[in-house]
């Protein structure tokens, strides 16, 4: 490490935090590139450049081109950005809160609650009065999934909070218990389900951005973006938490308030993400991990970088999902698993002995 006096013209040496902050710009540029590529790629073969050329020449787009661009690719891109950012940031926050690099949003019950809500809607949805069905229309499953996530998070929070203090250890254990319970309830419902419903459920579990629509975005995006924006303020607090809750308190961090904020942000962001896109895995664990390896665990930069990289990677995964078995489509959860699992294993192998779990 070069001493300050050895470098005339430089006020101070570059810290990991500075490098991490420079990464914001790099990742934003990468994200823009991936977004443009995503608009350019698709089963129909329309390229963005052709469309732009047409517009510049003053020609109207054909019906198909317009639908592909405005109703298919753009909403999917927006959904991918928002869901990817939500999952990655939630993962980073959860890992900081539980002081464990293997934590993911599922711990607070978001995924199991969401799945239970989805199963309830898929299997029992037909039994609802038709007026209610007409009201919710195709949004029954996402709404039910979102409500399921929230109900679970609130339940887990209440169980693990006593006298104003939340015990993260209790939350972890209660989360495991609840996931088992949700699995049992799901099993009962699965028994009642017919073949078609089972297929729907399987596809929901594998996750997909295919149902992206402007209407869904209008409901999910504000929730997710607000939650992520709020989460970015947790950086310093999560750093302090890495030294333990007592020390975090000693250095002036309002620990319980921070926990409340973190759990709220994660429940909102990943609850909404899971509700509109089903069960997409690995993004919440792999993205923060990769970033920690590159620029260190400082949460002040890690949270924003996670959002940017998560968004970019999910959009890239969606590109793969859309073209690899054209004209059909692969559920995006499969792509993230196929690419994410080996990378995750590699990270674990590399880090043996460095992080003590």
């Amino acid at each position: 490490m070069v001493a300050m006096t050895d470098m005339p013209g430089r006020t101070r040496p570059r810290s990991r935090l500075d490098r991490a902050r420079q990464l914001h710009l790099l990742l934003a540029a990468f994200l823009a590139l991936v977004a443009l590529a995503s608009l350019n790629v698709g089963a129909t073969g329309f390229s963005l450049l052709d469309v732009l050329a047409k517009v510049l020449r003053g020609e109207a787009l054909s019906r198909t081109e317009a639908v592909v661009l405005w109703d298919i690719r753009l909403p999917r891109l927006a959904m991918g950005l928002v869901v990817g950012a939500a999952l990655a940031t939630s993962g980073a926050v959860m890992q900081g809160l539980f002081r464990n690099p293997l934590a993911d949003p599922g711990i607070v019950g978001v995924t199991s609650g969401g799945m239970l809500g989805a199963i309830l809607a898929i299997v029992l949805g037909g039994a609802l009065p038709s007026s209610l069905l007409a009201l919710t229309g195709g949004y029954l499953v996402p709404c039910a999934a979102f409500l399921g996530s929230w109900a679970t998070t609130i339940l887990l929070y209440r169980v693990s909070t006593r006298a104003g203090r939340t015990s993260v250890a209790t939350m972890l254990l209660a989360g495991i218990a609840f996931t088992a319970l949700a699995g049992a309830l799901a099993g009962v419902l699965i028994y009642k389900a017919d073949d078609q419903q089972l297929r729907d459920l399987t596809f929901w579990n594998m996750g997909s951005l295919a149902g992206a629509s402007w209407a869904k975005l209008a409901t999910a995006a504000p929730i997710i973006l607000t939650a992520i924006a709020g989460a970015l303020f947790l950086g310093r607090g999560l750093n302090g938490l890495a030294l333990g809750e007592a020390t975090a308190h000693h250095i002036g961090i309002p620990v319980q308030r921070m926990k409340n904020g973190a759990i709220l942000a994660v429940a909102a962001a990943s609850g909404a993400a899971v509700a509109v896109s089903g069960g997409i895995g690995f993004v919440g664990i792999v993205v923060p991990h990769l970033l920690r390896l590159i620029t260190g665990p400082d949460h002040r930069a890690l949270l924003l970088n996670s959002a940017l990289l998560g968004a970019a990677l999910l959009v890239a995964a969606d590109m793969i999902a859309r073209v690899v078995i054209v004209p059909a489509e692969l559920p995006i959860g499969i792509v993230t698993a196929v690419l994410g699992a080996p990378v995750f294993l590699w990270i674990l192998l590399r880090q043996r002995g460095v992080v003590d779990l």
């Binding site: 490490m1 006020t11 101070r12 810290s15 990991r16 935090l17 002081r99 464990n100 690099p101 310093r236 750093n239 302090g240 938490l241 890495a242 030294l243 333990g244 007592a246 020390t247 308190h249 000693h250 250095i251 002036g252 961090i253 309002p254 620990v255 920690r292 260190g296 665990p297 400082d298 460095v354 992080v355 003590d356």
Partner: protein, 262 residues
């Protein structure tokens, strides 16, 4: 001025502290000593706001129960007995964790100065988890020093609360840490340390508070408190203060160590 009045703490079913009262003044080092289970660490944890207690604790005239965490953090730094780190931060990053928002330039200077005080500047960019236990403890001390860098700020003395600060250190570093505490107090800050080591306490404390079974047995200067009779009563075994051991038995007195000047 740190004033503790009638402090009682119940942990589970056990009464850890009963009606404890003590005072500590800035510009001096106050050491709390006593046998295991006498309530030393419990007392410190109550003072740092980690435990529920009955009684009253005031720091600089303000009741600590009424202060917000960040207000307390501005007044005092706490060095814990042991510290785990969940993520692979570097040594300088750990030191910076306690720093409040300010310009990064200040952060860097204070960080480096704090690391230099504990003789770990050369490890500034090493991973914290690669260090030995003793080195990690010194990094924590640097963090605490960085947090309350100015012993007196705007006329208000700031405090160091140290929980067994020298337990994992070799003798040279033990003396170094105690000298840091001495310098802090000399500059006007207050130091409250929970200590196991009676010799170091005798060397550096201005005031000693001896606890036994949750109450204060004696309080005063080291010579007043550390008498054979008092210590024997507190520790439950015959202790002799101030005489040399039988011939042929080696003994070591830190007092006689010659440590290189900083």
């Amino acid at each position: 001025m740190l004033i503790v009045e009638n402090l009682s703490v119940t942990l589970g079913y056990k009464r850890a502290l009963t009606g404890l009262s003590l005072t500590a003044r800035p510009g001096a080092i106050t050491c709390i000593v006593g046998p295991n289970g006498s309530g030393k660490t419990t007392c410190l944890r109550a003072m740092t706001g980690d435990l529920a207690y009955t009684g009253r604790i005031t720091l600089g005239g303000r009741d600590i129960a009424a202060l917000k965490p960040w207000e307390l953090a501005a007044l005092r730094g706490v060095l814990p007995q042991a510290s785990a780190l969940a993520f692979p931060f570097t040594v300088s990053e750990v030191v910076q964790i306690g720093l409040h928002n300010g310009t990064s330039g200040d952060h860097d200077e204070i960080t480096r100065a704090a690391l230099a005080r504990v003789d770990l500047l050369r490890f500034a960019d090493r991973a914290y988890q690669e260090l030995s236990g003793g080195e990690q403890q010194r990094v924590q001390l640097a963090r605490v020093l960085a947090q309350v860098w100015e012993p007196v700020s705007e006329g208000t003395p700031r405090w160091l609360f140290l929980d067994e600060p020298v337990s994992a250190l070799d003798i040279a570093h033990q003396l170094q840490v105690m000298r840091i505490a001495r310098d802090f107090a000399a500059a006007g800050g207050g130091v409250l340390a929970v200590m196991h080591d009676l010799n170091l306490t005798a060397m550096y404390a201005d005031k000693v508070v001896l606890l036994a079974e949750g109450t204060c047995l004696a309080a005063g200067t080291p010579s007043e408190v550390m008498t054979s009779q008092t210590l024997s009563r507190a520790y439950g075994c015959a202790l002799t203060v101030g005489r040399t051991p039988p011939p042929g038995t080696p003994f070591l007195l830190p007092h006689l160590a010659a440590v290189a000047a900083e």
